[in-house]
């Protein structure tokens, strides 16, 4: 397959502004976007910078904007996205660019840390002998939210995160629900307090971009709506 890669290049030591560069490639019909990037790095410009690791959609390193939509480049076939023989590859939006296609994820992680992304069991109760059990139904309900690989695709797609660096964003909020909705967790109220903010759940305008682009089938919008519901119950003194 003949395909032209248009890549948004930016080297902070040389360029004042990012600019597009084109690379005509010949690739296998079944090739994924990442194959093209690797070929460019190997044969055209070894300075091209991007993150990639596992190549099987589990490490979450290689999310980028391909033709104006967030994709894991390792699991997106060219045939899915190519238009008029061209594929436009840009770094994730809403995050500062370090170089070329690599972005600085620090603010993403900072928000991730802010929502206490770990289970807090009830210390007052004796620890179970084997494991903390939960009902099958509850586990299945939460499963998708545990499936997040923190690639940042949702964060990049969110128009709210675009204008507010302090907005917690879909990934952190979905993770907050993954624990706030967990029957084994004892810190639900505290979690709900953290997310109940103008920079948290109340800022989500249900645009659904995050749900649209998630490569792992997580529905951050759904999670945020559950958090809103729980918070309303908490604020009105109903059991949560």
């Amino acid at each position: 397959m003949r395909v032209t890669f248009r890549i948004l290049r930016y080297d902070p030591e040389r360029d004042a502004n990012p600019h597009f560069e084109s690379y005509p490639l010949e690739l296998d019909d079944r090739a994924v976007v990442l194959d093209g990037l690797v070929q460019i790095k190997d044969f055209a410009d070894s300075a091209l910078t991007f993150r990639r690791s596992c190549r099987q959609a589990i490490c979450g390193s290689c999310a980028m904007r391909v033709n104006d939509r967030e994709h894991l480049t390792c699991s997106t076939q060219l045939s899915e996205v190519v238009r008029d023989g061209t594929v436009v590859v840009e770094p994730l939006a809403n995050l500062p660019v370090i170089k070329d296609l690599a972005v600085d994820m620090e603010q993403f992680w900072r928000k991730y840390r802010a929502i206490m992304p770990f289970l807090i069991p009830d210390r007052a109760k004796p620890a179970p002998e084997k494991e903390y059990r939960m009902a099958n139904k509850e586990a299945r309900h939460l499963q998708q939210f545990g499936g997040c690989i923190q690639c940042g695709a949702c964060y990049s797609s969110c128009p709210i995160a675009a204008t507010d660096e302090e907005y917690l964003g879909p990934a952190a909020l979905a993770k907050a629900y993954r624990f706030a909705g967990d029957p084994r967790d004892s810190a639900r109220r505290e979690r709900l307090k953290i997310v109940s903010d103008e920079r948290g759940i109340w800022r989500c305008h249900t645009v659904f971009n995050c749900t649209e682009v998630c490569p792992k089938g997580v529905e951050p919008t759904y999670a945020i709506q559950q958090l809103k519901k729980l918070t309303i119950r908490r604020r009105f003194g109903l059991p949560v």
Partner: protein, 136 residues
């Protein structure tokens, strides 16, 4: 237990919870009321005379409006409509301002100006409604 923070890291900026919670709730409540009240308002005030109107000028008659506003129910409908619509509209503008990047002091100034504008608009609207009762 709290958020994990790196040494020297500033905590996430947060506002008082009520500042973000109540506007959100009121936006929904006012929106729901508006759907009902606006339906009544448009149906009665603007289309009530549609059947017998032969000209657009027959649609709204001063004395009809004035007569309705003598009655407690219609007075309450219009006052409620005015209150909810002004709140809903201006809070919507505030939401847009936040999403356009208004921050910190700017948020307070924006909120304050919108409250002033809202109170002035509401006052003028009430004066207009009272006028109907007076001239009838």
């Amino acid at each position: 237990m709290a958020a994990i923070m790196r040494p020297g890291e500033a905590p996430m900026q947060t506002a008082r919870e009520s500042v973000s919670f109540w506007p959100w709730v009121l936006q929904r409540i006012s929106g729901l009321f508006l759907v009902v009240l606006m339906g009544i308002h448009i149906g009665i005030n603007h289309f009530g005379n549609l059947g017998k109107a032969s000209d657009t000028r027959d649609l709204i008659i001063f004395n009809d409006v004035a007569f309705r506003l003598q009655q407690g129910f219609w007075w309450a409908v219009d006052v409620a409509l005015l209150t909810f619509v002004v709140y809903h509209g201006l809070n919507g503008i505030r939401n847009i301002a936040l999403d356009l990047g208004v921050r910190g002091t700017g948020t307070k100034v924006t909120t304050g100006l919108l409250w002033l504008l809202g109170i002035a608009t509401w006052g003028f609207g009430i004066a207009a409604l009272i006028a109907f009762r007076k001239y009838a």
